[in-house]
Protein backbone atom coordinates (compact mmCIF):
# COMPACT_ATOMS: atom_id res chain seq x y z
CA UNK A 1 0.00 0.00 0.00
CA UNK A 2 2.79 2.37 0.91
CA UNK A 3 4.56 1.32 -2.30
CA UNK A 4 1.58 2.32 -4.39
CA UNK A 5 1.27 5.62 -2.55
CA UNK A 6 4.94 6.43 -3.18
CA UNK A 7 4.60 5.40 -6.80
CA UNK A 8 1.56 7.56 -7.45
CA UNK A 9 2.92 10.65 -5.71
CA UNK A 10 6.26 10.38 -7.50
CA UNK A 11 4.54 9.67 -10.80
CA UNK A 12 2.33 12.73 -10.37
CA UNK A 13 5.41 14.83 -9.63
CA UNK A 14 7.17 13.42 -12.71
CA UNK A 15 4.27 14.02 -15.08
CA UNK A 16 3.53 17.50 -13.73
CA UNK A 17 7.17 18.42 -14.19
CA UNK A 18 7.29 16.94 -17.69
CA UNK A 19 4.21 18.84 -18.79
CA UNK A 20 5.66 21.96 -17.19
CA UNK A 21 8.87 21.59 -19.20
CA UNK A 22 7.08 21.59 -22.53
CA UNK A 23 4.37 24.11 -21.64
CA UNK A 24 6.22 26.79 -19.64
CA UNK A 25 6.75 29.99 -21.56
CA UNK A 26 9.90 30.96 -19.75
CA UNK A 27 12.95 28.69 -20.27
CA UNK A 28 13.94 29.16 -16.62
CA UNK A 29 10.61 27.70 -15.53
CA UNK A 30 11.18 24.81 -17.92
CA UNK A 31 14.53 24.10 -16.29
CA UNK A 32 13.03 24.18 -12.79
CA UNK A 33 10.22 21.87 -13.87
CA UNK A 34 12.89 19.55 -15.25
CA UNK A 35 14.44 19.41 -11.77
CA UNK A 36 11.05 18.38 -10.41
CA UNK A 37 10.77 15.54 -12.91
CA UNK A 38 14.30 14.38 -12.16
CA UNK A 39 13.58 14.25 -8.42
CA UNK A 40 10.44 12.23 -9.08
CA UNK A 41 12.47 9.77 -11.16
CA UNK A 42 15.06 9.55 -8.37
CA UNK A 43 12.27 8.59 -5.97
CA UNK A 44 11.17 5.89 -8.40
CA UNK A 45 14.75 4.62 -8.53
CA UNK A 46 14.87 4.39 -4.74
CA UNK A 47 11.55 2.56 -4.76
CA UNK A 48 13.15 0.02 -7.09
CA UNK A 49 16.23 -0.24 -4.89
CA UNK A 50 18.59 1.32 -7.43
CA UNK A 51 20.16 3.46 -4.74
CA UNK A 52 23.36 4.35 -6.54
CA UNK A 53 21.49 5.48 -9.64
CA UNK A 54 19.14 7.58 -7.52
CA UNK A 55 22.10 9.38 -5.98
CA UNK A 56 23.74 9.87 -9.37
CA UNK A 57 20.44 11.09 -10.79
CA UNK A 58 20.22 13.84 -8.19
CA UNK A 59 23.91 14.77 -8.25
CA UNK A 60 24.60 14.62 -11.98
CA UNK A 61 21.25 15.49 -13.50
CA UNK A 62 19.72 17.91 -11.03
CA UNK A 63 23.03 19.14 -9.72
CA UNK A 64 25.11 19.51 -12.85
CA UNK A 65 23.09 19.31 -16.03
CA UNK A 66 20.22 21.55 -14.98
CA UNK A 67 22.66 24.05 -13.49
CA UNK A 68 24.43 24.03 -16.85
CA UNK A 69 21.12 24.75 -18.54
CA UNK A 70 20.35 27.61 -16.17
CA UNK A 71 23.86 28.96 -16.60
CA UNK A 72 23.49 29.08 -20.37
CA UNK A 73 20.03 30.65 -20.09
CA UNK A 74 21.41 33.41 -17.89
CA UNK A 75 24.54 33.80 -20.02
CA UNK A 76 22.56 34.27 -23.18
CA UNK A 77 19.83 36.37 -21.59
CA UNK A 78 17.00 34.39 -23.14
CA UNK A 79 15.15 34.20 -19.85
CA UNK A 80 12.44 36.63 -20.78
CA UNK A 81 9.03 35.11 -21.21
CA UNK A 82 8.08 34.22 -24.74
CA UNK A 83 4.73 33.17 -26.00
CA UNK A 84 4.40 29.48 -26.48
CA UNK A 85 6.23 29.80 -29.83
CA UNK A 86 4.48 26.94 -31.47
CA UNK A 87 6.31 25.77 -34.51
CA UNK A 88 5.89 27.58 -37.80
CA UNK A 89 7.24 24.85 -40.03
CA UNK A 90 4.33 23.60 -42.14
CA UNK A 91 2.95 20.34 -40.87
CA UNK A 92 5.06 20.16 -37.77
CA UNK A 93 2.15 20.80 -35.45
CA UNK A 94 0.28 17.96 -37.12
CA UNK A 95 3.35 15.79 -36.84
CA UNK A 96 3.47 16.51 -33.11
CA UNK A 97 -0.23 15.74 -32.77
CA UNK A 98 0.11 12.49 -34.71
CA UNK A 99 3.18 11.49 -32.72
CA UNK A 100 1.57 12.18 -29.37
CA UNK A 101 -1.81 10.63 -30.13
CA UNK A 102 -0.29 7.66 -31.94
CA UNK A 103 2.14 6.92 -29.15
CA UNK A 104 -0.57 7.16 -26.53
CA UNK A 105 -2.81 4.82 -28.55
CA UNK A 106 -0.01 2.27 -28.96
CA UNK A 107 0.70 2.59 -25.25
CA UNK A 108 -2.95 2.04 -24.34
CA UNK A 109 -3.17 -0.96 -26.66
CA UNK A 110 -0.08 -2.43 -25.06
CA UNK A 111 -1.53 -2.04 -21.58
CA UNK A 112 -4.79 -3.65 -22.61
CA UNK A 113 -3.35 -6.46 -24.71
CA UNK A 114 -0.23 -7.35 -22.77
CA UNK A 115 -1.07 -7.94 -19.14
CA UNK A 116 2.41 -9.07 -18.22
CA UNK A 117 4.99 -6.94 -20.04
CA UNK A 118 8.14 -8.74 -18.95
CA UNK A 119 9.08 -12.04 -20.48
CA UNK A 120 12.37 -13.79 -20.10
CA UNK A 121 14.26 -15.66 -17.48
CA UNK A 122 15.58 -14.13 -14.33
CA UNK A 123 19.27 -13.50 -14.17
CA UNK A 124 21.40 -16.04 -12.37
CA UNK A 125 24.24 -13.62 -11.75
CA UNK A 126 22.94 -12.39 -8.43
CA UNK A 127 20.16 -10.21 -7.26
CA UNK A 128 20.11 -6.61 -8.41
CA UNK A 129 17.82 -5.56 -5.63
CA UNK A 130 19.70 -6.38 -2.48
CA UNK A 131 21.59 -4.09 -0.19
CA UNK A 132 24.68 -4.80 -2.27
CA UNK A 133 23.44 -2.68 -5.14
CA UNK A 134 26.54 -0.50 -5.36
CA UNK A 135 28.93 -3.43 -5.16
CA UNK A 136 27.12 -5.35 -7.88
CA UNK A 137 26.96 -2.31 -10.12
CA UNK A 138 30.67 -1.64 -9.63
CA UNK A 139 31.56 -5.23 -10.41
CA UNK A 140 29.46 -5.13 -13.56
CA UNK A 141 31.00 -1.83 -14.65
CA UNK A 142 34.61 -2.72 -14.01
CA UNK A 143 34.57 -6.32 -15.22
CA UNK A 144 31.96 -7.00 -17.86
CA UNK A 145 31.74 -3.50 -19.26
CA UNK A 146 35.21 -2.18 -18.57
CA UNK A 147 35.97 -1.33 -22.22
CA UNK A 148 32.75 0.62 -22.57
CA UNK A 149 33.58 2.36 -19.31
CA UNK A 150 36.98 3.41 -20.61
CA UNK A 151 35.39 4.60 -23.84
CA UNK A 152 33.06 6.88 -21.89
CA UNK A 153 36.10 8.66 -20.48
CA UNK A 154 37.24 9.26 -24.05
CA UNK A 155 33.75 10.51 -24.91
CA UNK A 156 33.79 12.96 -22.02
CA UNK A 157 37.20 14.31 -23.03
CA UNK A 158 35.99 14.78 -26.60
CA UNK A 159 32.84 16.52 -25.34
CA UNK A 160 34.82 18.91 -23.17
CA UNK A 161 37.22 19.77 -26.00
CA UNK A 162 34.31 20.18 -28.38
CA UNK A 163 32.49 22.50 -25.99
CA UNK A 164 35.60 24.65 -25.55
CA UNK A 165 36.13 24.87 -29.31
CA UNK A 166 32.47 25.67 -29.99
CA UNK A 167 31.99 28.24 -27.25
CA UNK A 168 35.16 30.29 -27.67
CA UNK A 169 34.83 33.81 -28.95
CA UNK A 170 34.74 33.95 -32.73
CA UNK A 171 38.05 35.14 -34.12
CA UNK A 172 38.34 38.15 -36.40
CA UNK A 173 38.28 36.11 -39.60
CA UNK A 174 34.90 34.65 -38.65
CA UNK A 175 33.24 37.90 -37.72
CA UNK A 176 31.83 38.74 -41.20
CA UNK A 177 29.22 36.07 -40.54
CA UNK A 178 27.50 38.58 -38.30
CA UNK A 179 27.32 41.22 -41.00
CA UNK A 180 25.96 38.79 -43.58
CA UNK A 181 22.88 38.34 -41.47
CA UNK A 182 21.54 41.78 -42.21
CA UNK A 183 21.52 41.22 -45.96
CA UNK A 184 19.66 37.96 -45.89
Amino acid sequence: MVDALVFFIAAAVCLTGALGVILARNPVHSALMLVMTLFGIAVQFVAQEAHFLAAVQVIVYAGAIVVLFLFVIMLLGVDRAQDLELSILPGQRWAALVFGAGSLMVLGALIVVVGEPVTGAKSVGGSASTAENVRLLARSLFSDHVYAFELTSLLLVIAVIGAVVLARKPSQSELPLVEERGEN
Partner: protein, 101 residues
Protein backbone atom coordinates in the same frame (compact mmCIF):
# COMPACT_ATOMS: atom_id res chain seq x y z
CA UNK B 1 -2.09 -3.18 -4.17
CA UNK B 2 1.30 -4.06 -5.54
CA UNK B 3 3.30 -1.85 -7.82
CA UNK B 4 4.09 -4.03 -10.81
CA UNK B 5 6.72 -3.53 -13.47
CA UNK B 6 4.07 -2.51 -15.94
CA UNK B 7 3.29 0.65 -13.99
CA UNK B 8 6.86 1.82 -14.22
CA UNK B 9 6.91 1.02 -17.93
CA UNK B 10 3.75 3.07 -18.45
CA UNK B 11 5.24 6.02 -16.58
CA UNK B 12 8.45 5.76 -18.60
CA UNK B 13 6.49 5.63 -21.85
CA UNK B 14 4.42 8.65 -20.83
CA UNK B 15 7.56 10.64 -20.07
CA UNK B 16 8.99 9.60 -23.44
CA UNK B 17 5.86 10.68 -25.29
CA UNK B 18 5.69 14.02 -23.47
CA UNK B 19 9.36 14.68 -24.23
CA UNK B 20 8.94 13.75 -27.90
CA UNK B 21 5.88 15.95 -28.28
CA UNK B 22 7.72 18.84 -26.65
CA UNK B 23 10.63 18.31 -29.01
CA UNK B 24 8.24 18.74 -31.92
CA UNK B 25 6.24 21.74 -30.70
CA UNK B 26 8.95 23.88 -29.11
CA UNK B 27 11.34 26.03 -31.11
CA UNK B 28 13.66 27.28 -28.40
CA UNK B 29 16.78 25.09 -28.76
CA UNK B 30 17.36 25.08 -25.00
CA UNK B 31 13.88 23.75 -24.26
CA UNK B 32 14.32 21.18 -27.03
CA UNK B 33 17.44 19.90 -25.27
CA UNK B 34 15.46 19.63 -22.03
CA UNK B 35 12.83 17.58 -23.87
CA UNK B 36 15.58 15.19 -24.99
CA UNK B 37 16.52 14.81 -21.33
CA UNK B 38 12.90 13.94 -20.56
CA UNK B 39 12.91 11.22 -23.21
CA UNK B 40 16.18 9.80 -21.87
CA UNK B 41 14.73 9.72 -18.37
CA UNK B 42 11.68 7.82 -19.54
CA UNK B 43 13.95 5.19 -21.06
CA UNK B 44 16.09 5.08 -17.91
CA UNK B 45 13.04 4.40 -15.78
CA UNK B 46 12.06 1.49 -18.03
CA UNK B 47 15.58 0.05 -17.89
CA UNK B 48 15.67 0.18 -14.09
CA UNK B 49 12.23 -1.44 -13.93
CA UNK B 50 13.44 -4.30 -16.11
CA UNK B 51 16.62 -4.65 -14.06
CA UNK B 52 14.58 -4.90 -10.90
CA UNK B 53 12.11 -7.35 -12.37
CA UNK B 54 14.67 -9.69 -13.93
CA UNK B 55 17.15 -9.32 -11.08
CA UNK B 56 19.84 -8.35 -13.56
CA UNK B 57 22.25 -5.56 -12.73
CA UNK B 58 22.98 -5.08 -16.44
CA UNK B 59 19.99 -2.80 -16.81
CA UNK B 60 21.34 -0.43 -14.20
CA UNK B 61 24.74 -0.50 -15.88
CA UNK B 62 23.14 0.65 -19.11
CA UNK B 63 21.41 3.47 -17.22
CA UNK B 64 24.80 4.55 -15.94
CA UNK B 65 26.13 4.76 -19.49
CA UNK B 66 23.05 6.64 -20.61
CA UNK B 67 23.73 9.19 -17.87
CA UNK B 68 27.30 9.68 -19.08
CA UNK B 69 26.27 10.03 -22.70
CA UNK B 70 23.49 12.45 -21.74
CA UNK B 71 26.00 14.61 -19.90
CA UNK B 72 28.30 14.68 -22.92
CA UNK B 73 25.35 15.41 -25.21
CA UNK B 74 24.24 18.35 -23.08
CA UNK B 75 27.76 19.79 -22.97
CA UNK B 76 28.14 19.70 -26.76
CA UNK B 77 24.53 20.75 -27.38
CA UNK B 78 24.80 23.77 -25.11
CA UNK B 79 28.13 24.66 -26.71
CA UNK B 80 26.40 24.67 -30.09
CA UNK B 81 23.52 26.74 -28.74
CA UNK B 82 25.89 29.30 -27.24
CA UNK B 83 27.88 29.52 -30.47
CA UNK B 84 24.76 29.98 -32.60
CA UNK B 85 22.97 32.41 -30.31
CA UNK B 86 26.09 34.52 -29.94
CA UNK B 87 26.24 35.07 -33.68
CA UNK B 88 22.51 35.37 -34.23
CA UNK B 89 20.76 36.52 -31.07
CA UNK B 90 17.17 35.43 -30.62
CA UNK B 91 17.32 32.69 -33.18
CA UNK B 92 15.12 29.61 -33.03
CA UNK B 93 15.54 26.12 -34.35
CA UNK B 94 13.53 26.93 -37.46
CA UNK B 95 15.80 29.84 -38.43
CA UNK B 96 18.67 27.43 -38.77
CA UNK B 97 17.13 26.01 -41.92
CA UNK B 98 19.46 28.44 -43.70
CA UNK B 99 22.32 26.11 -42.85
CA UNK B 100 22.47 24.32 -46.17
CA UNK B 101 25.64 22.35 -46.52
Amino acid sequence: MDVTTGWYLVLGALLFVIGGTGLLIRRNPLVMLMCVELMLNGVNLSLVAFAQRLDDIGGQTVVFFVLVVAAAEVVVGLGLVVAILRRRPGTTADDLSTLRG
